[in-house]
């Protein structure tokens, strides 16, 4: 049987009368990369903070390598969303500070900090003030603060928010390297591309896990294989009604560059779509097919919440 890094059973959390987590069950195996996705207000940060022993649960069981979160602090490397490193210190000084908090002597801390700076590619910038670091460099420094000896579970709360694609890729390359050492990763993100890297994804909505599977299975089970985007010369509400027939009667999504429908077989669907639109006087100027992404699954399964929190503008 696999060793369980995280086991959560019937976890609930209430703030007064507001029940934020409603009986969460999930298991993360040792060495697994687990990703939790969910819209704003779905409860993912609350769940994460209970896991990181920052907040207390209301009821249920939670264990990290067989221990209660409060007893597993020396096994957890938690990276909150905010840039928690001190801008008034250098990269090296920040690591020395955290090494000291972990109980290392000055000599040990100096040695360990140099090693960590090397691992995250910041050795050359180690003595620069963090205020001079780019967003990506700062995140890598903060990643280093959760990689001290003995840390077995990384909890990363939206670590790539605000980073450019290159910095994001760089960050996850580092995470992948650390995974090879057997570290378990628990990632919270909104970004589908980041979630694709996970072994297992849990979708949380309104305080419940609504789907949990590998990225491929989630896409396979919750979407058609392809998305077809149809761009017409003019936009008209009637186009949505025509396309709904080809979308198995489901509502057609309006994308920035056209109308979006799901299709089992693009080659078979395209000619009748064009014919039908043409017969109603709507000229098709472009067709684009796209593979399903995790963000599509995310929108499909949590769409009602997204509409609520964004006022429908997504």
């Amino acid at each position: 049987m696999d060793l369980e890094a995280v086991k959560i059973e019937n976890l609930t959390k209430r703030y007064g009368k507001n029940e934020v987590l409603k009986g969460i069950n999930l298991t993360v195996s040792d060495g697994q990369f687990y990703c939790l996705m969910g819209p704003n207000g779905s409860g993912k940060t609350t769940l994460t903070s209970i896991l990181a022993s920052i907040r207390d649960k209301t009821s249920g069981n939670i264990s990290i390598y067989g221990r209660a979160p409060g007893q597993a602090r020396n096994l957890i490397g938690y990276m909150p969303q905010e840039n928690f490193s001190s801008a008034a210190l250098t990269g090296r000084e920040n690591l020395l500070y955290f090494a000291g908090l972990m109980g290392y002597s000055s000599r040990e801390a100096a040695k360990i900090s140099t090693g960590l700076l090397k691992q995250v590619g910041l050795l050359d910038d180690a003595d620069k003030m963090v205020s001079k670091y780019s967003g990506g460099m700062r995140k890598r420094l903060e990643l280093a603060t959760v990689l001290f000896e003995g840390i077995k579970l990384l909890i990363l709360d939206e670590p790539t928010t605000g980073l450019d694609p290159a910095a994001r890729r760089n960050f996850f390359n580092l995470v992948s390297n650390f995974r090879k050492k057997g570290i378990t990763v628990f990632l919270i993100t909104h970004i589908g591309a980041d979630a694709e890297l996970a072994d297992m994804i849990g979708l949380i909505d309104n305080g419940k896990i609504i789907a949990q599977d590998s990225p491929d299975n989630l896409k396979r089970n919750n979407l058609q294989k392809n998305t077809l985007i149809i761009e017409t010369k003019i936009r008209d509400e009637r186009i949505k009604k025509i396309l709904a027939v080809f979308n198995r009667g489901r509502e057609v999504t309006e994308a920035e560059n056209g109308y979006k429908i799901s299709s089992d077989d693009i080659a078979e669907d395209i000619p009748p779509i064009i014919r039908e639109l043409d017969s109603h006087g709507f000229e098709v100027i472009r067709l684009e097919s796209a593979s399903a992404t995790l963000e599509d699954v995310f929108f499909k399964l949590t769409g009602h919440t997204c509409k609520k929190t964004t006022g429908g503008n997504f």
Binding site: S53, R73, Y78, N83, S86, L89, Y97, L101
Partner: protein, 257 residues
């Protein structure tokens, strides 16, 4: 001890690298020291005497320590909270009181260095202190006590006022207003009767009076603060403020909810 030392080093580096903090807690009291000696007390014939100048110097040391404790400490706490550092610390195997102790030692070090600097400038400007062995130790004791009390006040502000600007402004406001009401920055004799009573029992003005009495002259203080009631009340209220701050910080400051 390693955890406390780590927080201590971080705190003093952050304090000394913040030019605004250094200006308002060291340079500004030094400017006031010049103004006090060469402008505000000019009309008083006693202002020419070295011990009177020592009194002005000590007031500026207390002015500096109050600003450091009341505004710098909450500023640091609120900044760390805003950066998510407390969430991070809460997930780590560290006790709140160790983090707090490191912060307090950091501030104490900063205040003592500032005090030495202000006193050195005071001496250059003609101040002369009564450096009897008993005078120095009692004065140092009350300086440390006042710093702990000021840290305590700052910790309480930082614990409950979450916004960075709000925490700093609240600290500056309370420090400046209370200093004025208690006569830390101007003569005790000018205070109305009710405020004179307040001045004797407000821990900072009382410590200021005791240190000034020991190291300068009664003429500067305006009364003799060396009596059992005032001394015991000053010690008790300072310790109470400090202990209360530790309790409140460890219970509420790192709270995520």
């Amino acid at each position: 001890m390693r955890q406390v030392n780590s927080v201590f080093i971080k705190t003093i580096k952050e304090l000394y690298r913040n030019k605004t903090t250094v200006f308002w807690t060291v340079v500004w009291p030094v400017i006031f020291l010049f103004l006090g000696i060469f402008l505000f007390y000019r009309a008083d014939p006693l202002s020419e005497t070295p011990t009177f100048r020592a009194g002005i110097t000590i007031s500026m040391v207390v002015f500096s320590l109050m600003l450091s404790g009341f505004s710098t400490m909450p500023g640091i706490i609120a900044t760390d909270r805003s950066n998510g550092l407390f969430l991070k610390l809460r997930s780590m195997p560290i006790k709140q009181w160790r983090d707090l102790l490191g912060r307090i030692f950091g501030l104490l070090f900063y205040v003592l260095v500032s005090a030495v600097l202000i006193c050195a400038i005071g001496i250059v400007l003609g101040a002369r202190f009564n450096l009897g062995p008993g005078n120095i130790s009692v004065s140092l004791g009350f300086l440390v006590l006042a710093t702990l009390a000021a840290s305590g006040a700052g910790i309480i502000i930082g614990t409950f006022v979450k916004n960075i600007n709000g925490a700093v402004i609240t600290g500056v406001g309370i420090a400046v207003v209370s200093m004025s009401l208690a006569g830390v920055t101007f003569p005790y004799a000018f205070l109305p009767g009710a405020l004179q009573a307040f001045s004797r029992f407000y821990p900072f003005s009382s410590s200021n009076a005791i240190i000034s009495f020991m190291l300068s002259t009664e003429a500067f203080v305006g009364y003799n603060p060396i009596n059992a009631l005032q001394i015991s009340f000053t010690i008790a209220s300072s310790i109470l403020l400090f202990v209360l701050s530790i309790i409140l910080y460890t219970r509420f400051c790192w709270k995520a909810d």
